[in-house]
């Protein structure tokens, strides 16, 4: 059986890409078309003729039609829609791996962590300033309490940030 070389596969990929093939389908369609081309080459056609024959069938119209059918068939069911977040709906049929989806998913958490961190740092700074201004230091005073609270907040946000990073790393490795 004839095998296509990477350059020949790349020609097919470009064709599919230029015709707006859905991200979720492109790898699979590429393999499909490559198999067809290989089949035609096996029965004796040259690569160019085989390619022409296959692309005639997989023309822009067919690919667009596929995309339309695909999106109608695979839209979320009513149940899924009820559970889906706005991000899920916006990113349906779009490339989630690119990064924007992750950023949006984590946005609330990141914002909260940042807020807690800055609040904690501010509290610690204020407590520190009060010590520098000559007041006697004691953990039992108001400033002592503010310092402790600030320290807790900074530790909490640090830990959350670290955990988020680890989760992200784990997801990427999947």
């Amino acid at each position: 059986m004839e095998k296509l070389n990477p350059q020949q596969v790349a020609i097919l990929y470009r064709h599919l890409d230029q015709n707006g093939t859905d991200d979720a389908l492109i790898e699979e369609l590429l393999d499909h078309l490559a198999c067809e081309v290989e089949h035609f080459m096996w029965i004796g056609l040259s690569f160019e003729t085989a390619l022409e024959k296959v692309l005639l069938e997989a023309n822009a119209k067919a690919v667009r039609h596929l995309r339309e059918i695909y999106q109608i068939e695979l839209t979320m069911t009513a149940d899924q829609l009820r559970e889906a977040s706005l991000d899920d709906i916006v990113f349906e049929f779009r490339n989630k791996a690119y990064g924007a989806y992750d950023l949006r998913q984590e946005y609330r958490k990141s914002l909260r962590t940042a807020l807690v961190l800055s609040l904690g740092l501010a509290m610690m700074l204020v407590a520190l300033l009060s010590v520098f201004s000559g007041q006697k230091w004691s953990y039992m005073s108001v400033w002592g309490a503010i310092w402790t609270l600030g320290l807790v907040a900074v530790t909490y946000s640090g830990a959350t940030w670290f955990q988020q990073r680890m989760q992200h790393k784990y997801r990427m490795a999947e």
Binding site: A24, D31, A34, A58, I69, L74
Partner: protein
Amino acid sequence: MEPSGNEFLRGTLKTIVLKLLTEQGRMYGYEITQSVKERTQGEVVLTFGALYPVLHKLQQEGLLITESVEVDGRLRKYYTLTPRGNETALQKVSDFERFVEVMKHLLQPVPALSIGQ
């Protein structure tokens, strides 16, 4: 097949795909189209435009699982039935067989003598 054949095919595509997978175990898209073509002596030709939406839909419904394998430098996606997919396949095939039986009765000319029996 005639264009009207396509109309009949659309409703049975899921059943065909599920049935093939019960027999062959693990298949990829092109293999399914070839298998259908061979077994029907070229009467039924599945286009990629019809096949892949069905495969992905079945996967979304949890009847199939996929596995990507690199073959000749490209990714090939293999489909396998889940246990639930297996049940659904059996169910759908028997439903379809019944349907075909009923249709046969419907298409047969009504024997004149049977009236009044």
